[in-house]
Symmetry: C2
Amino acid sequence: MEGVIVGSSMNLLRDIPADLPRELFETLVSTPSLRIERIVSHGHVSSPDFWYDQDQNEWILIVQGHARLQFEDNTLELKSGDYVNMPAHKRHRVEWTTPDEPTVWLAIYYE
Amino acid sequence: MEGVIVGSSMNLLRDIPADLPRELFETLVSTPSLRIERIVSHGHVSSPDFWYDQDQNEWILIVQGHARLQFEDNTLELKSGDYVNMPAHKRHRVEWTTPDEPTVWLAIYYE
């Protein structure tokens, strides 16, 4: 099993590069039916007209920061502790992330 | 699919009862191979000599608070943002949680 770390802990808020030219995606756990990722954004947004349209369900949590997720029918403002569950093929894009600090997302992709 | 909430978000740090006689366990997402739970502890610990010994792997994150997880061979001190991945049947118990504030855990049980 990938990502097994016992006897020590890691921290989602550490090891964030000071300079982040692109969003940072890191896989923390991966199995055939599950992927847990840390995503770090710092003012990044999805490209205009780009929509995520995924085969897996996605559950996301804002661990730190501030973001706006756009859906076809509405927009969600998200801050620390907020979470959203999105079924597969629920089209969405990152409309905005705060430039003031890194926004740390925990994303769980599942079947 | 249980727990689908689109068009609104929920917050892991809200809706914590002021009085918490027992640990609070809430299922946020459940499928045959995955369960996402919020757990809230406030000074709670596992009973003496009680050990969790689970058939599923467990990935846990401390969203807020401070806790100590005991394993058979060591103990981990955990604060906000810390996460640990535990394979199935890795015996563990909650040795301590801070009495100063609620400790909010995100637990992902998976196959």
